[in-house]
């Protein structure tokens, strides 16, 4: 955090000054570790084992927050009899189809009911609902692949039936007892063996965390892509969720699980998604099978209870925002204008579509995949097969110049003259040159005002999109082709303002776009809350969770009442979605009876005289629903939530320790080794996540390595992880061209322990080259204790650390770490595994020209790598171990 979010880290230091204990768990020693009370280095890719160990410790020693767990989690709910856990299936869950590499989720459900996913693969249930309606055979694999993981990421759930519960938590099929059995093998000894963390260190972490998680005290978890860039990334976060729910650390001040996101508006890019699988506000994109018409879609995707019951209102309001008067009740508000998915269409599938010639044009809008995406070579090969490419950026980044000076030109794999891609480079405007809002990592919208106009041809992306749309609409004007109706009927009449330094050119008003995102009623009056949205076409709203950010016609994101003039919650600085709530699920900060758990941690409480929730924040709960409220039997939607259903977006109003629906790879986390690991899985016979996403990309430039004890694995004996440092920004597009930052961190380097340096003859300050099955790169060697060797599985394991900021262009250059990474992904959200791999490292620079390819080919030969290596289907159960016959 001190490296990647330094100014946010000041609050950690404030907390430390007030007595907080700071624990840093990370394979490398960083500036965070230097300031922490305890640094716990662990083997990259073993956090589920580590966190699972803590869960086991909490359960075994009864250190959980009992009253919180019983009231606010699903600990007491009974799971159906058909569920079989990893304990009985040697590392996989019931329902696995090892050949097709997917789970049938039906056995994971609660006893006596069907529950809709809170956030995740809602189609698991949606498909069945559609099946009942039209007689189809439920979702095909394409639906499963469509990354419904983020759909309803802000929550949302449906529920039918009455679930059986046992509040004594003793019934063997309660979630609580299943949890106990599941994590019983995550012992301190197993943690030591798997993670390389000594038992005494691990037990100290358990003690510190447990004694700080009480009615009087709360503990927070902070994570970043070190947890998500794995084939089990979603389950990493799940493990933390289980632990924090058990400890009563969710919805309370000083608690929570905080995702520190890496870019100014990466949260905004998810909320108003430029993502293939969702529409604004986490509304699932249409899927060909389950989205035949508006009614079917809403019936399949909406929830019966909680705020997702209003899905129809959110979607119809979005359609009204996009198609205005053309969207009528008769035409289902232009529902049919929306394109449908048939599978995953992430940027990695897009690369394959480019290689196959299906995808012919590509916009890169402030993005540099030639350095920043996993297996960067695949990205360049895809771009080399395009008809046209548009790059909008500040400088000539690698994704703009690969056709001229990319690595494949040097190796001779490509010749510039042979590359048919037409490339447009358009200079972009900076944040100082345009109005607009960023959504930061705590869901806070903050407006940045234009200070000056962009010079030369530089323009905002708002300008680019608006005028591109205008020109396309002019070209298609008068078309009678049905396919052109959506673009011609689109509301695209944003007010503009002249640009004095560019006579005749206009910039669209960003605030007008924000007003559309916020939404308005039939009279054009700005809405103030998503609770005003209707499914009858009387409201328009571009993103329902952002509704209220332009309440009263005032740009709430631009509010800047100084922090010194407000209380510590600072509700009048910017605007947080939803409804300016600063801590989600804050009903849980009070006990079931509505009184604070403790005076010290009082945040929101029930005022019996006023008959409403009061406190420091906007209630994330119906503001006048009493703690003892019991909903009528036939209630639906928000009305069906009881006075203690603190997790208002969830199907059952509870925090989920066990996930009966919504995840593609299991209702509980299990430790699996990364796709490529120097270690055999110490916990289960199942080596890797059996349903990891690996099949769609099979390409000679994306081969996988053998793992663990498999023959050939010893050719790549070291663990490899990638990361960032304070002085550079992601793939370097905003930092490698800066003289200040370039001077601070002038070259690509690798961090290795002194023991590894001795073993491989690496010299501090000299060169080394690092090899995986994909490629070889070179880097300066930093011999340092910061990347400690660990004792794992009975031997010493060395780790290699690589920052991924460099590439061939800019003031300071170096090979890109992403040349080494591969296209294997988490099955829920399709994010690639770049944080835990295996590699070899050798002294000296890498070979030049065709010899670079020859070196990689030689490693393939030595490790016996074929196109099937690492791809073999999951076997699971007692039948054998995934990957055993990997070569």
């Amino acid at each position: 955090m001190a490296e990647c979010h330094p100014v946010g880290f000041q609050w950690v230091m404030e907390a430390k000054a007030r007595g907080a204990t700071v624990i840093h768990v990370d394979p490398r020693f960083t500036r965070t570790s230097a300031l922490a009370d305890l640094h716990v280095p662990l083997r990259a890719g073993t956090d589920i084992a580590f966190l699972g160990g803590i869960i086991n410790h909490v359960l075994e020693n009864e250190r959980y927050f009992h009253d919180y767990v019983v009231a606010y989690t699903n600990a007491s709910t009974l799971v159906g009899e058909d569920f079989v856990d990893t304990e009985d299936l040697d590392g996989v869950f019931s329902g696995l189809d090892p050949e097709e590499r997917h789970y049938d989720f039906s056995t994971w459900q609660y006893e006596g009911g069907e529950v809709q996913a809170a956030s995740g693969a809602r189609y698991q249930v949606a498909g069945e609902r559609v099946e009942g309606k039209d007689g189809s055979d439920g979702p095909r694999s394409g639906v499963r692949e469509a990354a419904r993981g983020e759909a309803h990421g802000s929550g949302g759930a449906g529920i039918t039936g009455d679930f059986e519960t046992d509040e004594t938590l003793q019934h063997p099929r309660t979630v609580f007892q299943i949890l106990k059995r599941h994590f019983s093998r995550y012992t301190p000894e197993m943690v030591a063996e798997t993670c390389g963390v000594p038992m005494e260190t691990f037990l100290r972490v358990c003690e510190l965390l447990e004694e700080n998680s009480t009615p009087e005290r709360t503990s927070a978890f902070v994570y970043s892509v070190g947890w998500t860039h794995h084939t089990v990334g979603v389950q990493y976060v799940r493990t933390a969720s289980i632990l924090q729910a058990l400890l009563g650390n969710i919805g309370r001040p000083g608690g929570g699980i905080l995702a520190l996101r890496g870019h100014a508006s990466i949260q905004g890019s998810t909320d108003i998604p430029t993502l293939f699988n969702i529409l604004p506000g986490y509304i699932p994109m249409l899927h060909a099978e389950s989205s035949t018409d508006l009614q079917t879609y809403v019936a399949a995707e909406k929830a019966e209870k909680g705020y997702w019951a209003e899905l129809g209102s959110y979607l119809v309001s979005l359609l009204k925002a996009w198609w205005g008067p053309a969207a009528t009740a008769e035409n289902e508000y232009c529902f049919d204008y929306l394109p449908r998915l048939t599978g995953s269409h992430s940027s990695f599938e897009t690369v394959m579509a480019q290689l196959e010639g299906e995808c012919k044009g590509y916009f890169l809008l402030g993005e540099n995949p030639a350095v920043g995406s996993a297996n960067a070579k695949m990205q360049r090969l895809g771009m080399a097969n395009l008809d046209w490419l548009v790059v909008r950026d500040f400088s000539l980044i690698e994704s703009a110049t690969w056709w001229k000076d990319g690595p494949e030109i040097e190796t001779g794999e490509m010749r510039t003259e042979d590359i048919g891609t037409e490339v447009f480079f358009l200079p972009a405007a900076a944040h100082t040159e345009k109005d607009g809002s960023f959504t930061n990592t705590q869901r806070l919208l903050q407006w940045h005002h234009q200070a000056v106009e962009p010079a030369g041809d530089a323009r905002s992306d708002l300008w680019f999109l608006f005028h591109l749309g205008r020109k396309i609409r002019e070209r298609l004007a008068g078309s009678t082709d049905e396919r052109d109706r959506p673009i011609l009927d689109l509301t695209w009449d944003y007010p503009t303002k002249p640009m004095p330094s560019h006579p005749g050119d206009d910039e669209p008003e960003a605030e007008a776009v924000l007003a559309e995102i916020n939404g308005w009623d039939g009279h054009g009056t700005p809405l103030s809350s998503y609770q005003q949205l209707r499914a009858d076409g009387s409201t328009a709203c571009g993103c329902w969770i952002y509704c209220g950010t332009y309440a009263d016609g005032v740009n709430q994101a631009a509010r800047r009442k100084p922090g010194t003039e407000q209380d510590w919650v600072a509700k009048e600085w910017g605007w947080a979605w939803p409804a300016n709530r600063r801590i989600l699920y804050n009903r849980a900060s009070a006990a079931p009876d509505g009184t604070p758990w403790s005076e010290r941690k009082a945040y929101l409480w029930w005022d019996a005289d006023e008959k409403k929730w009061v406190g420091h924040d906007v209630p994330d709960f119906s503001p006048t629903k009493a703690p003892d409220h019991v909903p009528p039997e036939d209630a639906t939607g928000v009305a069906a939530l009881s006075g203690t259903d603190a997790f208002i977006m969830q199907a059952d109003g509870k925090a989920w320790l066990y996930v009966p629906a919504g995840l593609t790879d299991g209702p509980l986390p299990a430790h699996y080794e990364s796709q490529e690991s120097p270690v055999d899985n110490p916990l289960y016979r199942q080596q890797r996540n059996p349903v990891r996403q690996i099949e769609p990309v099979v390409h000679p430039a994306d081969r996988f390595q053998p793992s663990g004890d498999e023959p050939g694995a010893q050719v790549f004996p070291y663990a490899l992880t990638t990361y960032r440092i304070a002085e550079h920004h992601t793939a370097g597009g905003m930092s490698r061209w800066s003289p200040y930052l370039s001077e601070l961190a002038p070259t690509m380097f690798c961090e290795v322990a002194p023991e590894l340096a001795r073993e491989r003859g690496l010299e501090h300050g000299g060169w080394a080259h690092v090899v995986t099955a994909r490629n070889v790169i070179e880097a300066r060697v930093m011999v340092t204790d910061r990347m400690p060797s660990l004792r794992v599985a009975g031997r010493v394991l060395h780790q290699v650390g690589l920052p991924y900021h460099w590439g061939p262009n800019g003031l300071v250059t170096g090979d890109a770490a992403n040349e080494l990474t591969s296209l294997v992904m988490d099955p829920n959200v399709h994010i690639m595994e770049t944080k835990a791999l295996a590699c070899d490292i050798r002294p000296g620079r890498r070979p030049r020209g065709p010899d670079r390819l020859a070196l990689v080919a030689d490693y393939h030969r030595r490790a016996g790598i074929t196109e099937r290596t690492g791809l073999d289907p999951a076997v699971g159960g007692a039948a054998g171990k995934d990957g055993k016959d990997g070569t």
Partner: protein, 188 residues
């Protein structure tokens, strides 16, 4: 120089007279440093902004003089950052005004070995034409017998420093064109 001003220019005298006995404040100023002014002092106006690097969202004050950004500093009003910026945030002035920025459209024709110049409006027309053509070529009404109403002909990958309003127009425009391969750094 009169005796009085000569005396007053003597640092030892100033240490005593100005209440700076250790000589670490005003007494240590030379005449040159005494006349120095921060570069923000004569800025025409200050614009409130937000750091474009990571997602902490630190407040920035952007100082403008003669329609040029002359300095970017942390905004002390921000309850998030309290005026602080990290090394990256502190380089914002260089990011936005440094000589590494390109200000002209560059064009590379198929098979071309060098960049060429291109007028911005011409480039926009050409891109609009390419989109319309690729959209048509990659159009699908149906896929495996199911209605999909989409194009696979072009794709988009956006960075996460885009404004919400920009992302909104990307999603709106490209979805209306039928494109589904719309992605962002948020999955990377």
């Amino acid at each position: 120089m009169g005796v009085k001003s000569w005396m007053e220019s003597w640092p030892v005298y100033r240490q005593w007279a100005d209440g700076d006995p250790l000589g670490r404040g005003s007494a240590a100023k030379s005449r040159t440093s005494g006349t120095l002014q921060p570069r923000i002092a004569d800025a025409d106006h200050v614009t409130k902004s937000v750091c474009p690097f990571c997602a902490v969202g630190c407040g920035q004050n952007v100082y403008v003089k003669d329609e040029r950004v002359v300095q970017i500093e942390g905004d002390p009003d921000s309850p998030i950052s309290r005026g602080r910026l990290c090394p990256r945030g502190s380089s914002s002035l260089q990011l936005t005004t440094g000589d590494a920025r390109e200000y002209a459209v560059r064009y590379r024709r198929p098979g071309g070995t060098e960049w060429e110049d291109l007028d911005l409006d011409t480039a926009m027309d050409m891109i609009a034409g390419r989109v319309v053509a690729s959209r048509r070529e990659g159009w699908q009404w149906e896929h495996e017998g199911m209605r999909v109403r989409r194009t696979m002909g072009f794709a988009s990958l956006g960075g996460a420093t885009l404004d919400n309003e920009e992302n909104y127009l990307i999603k709106k425009l490209f979805t209306a064109l039928g494109a589904i391969q719309i992605e962002n750094q948020a999955r990377i």
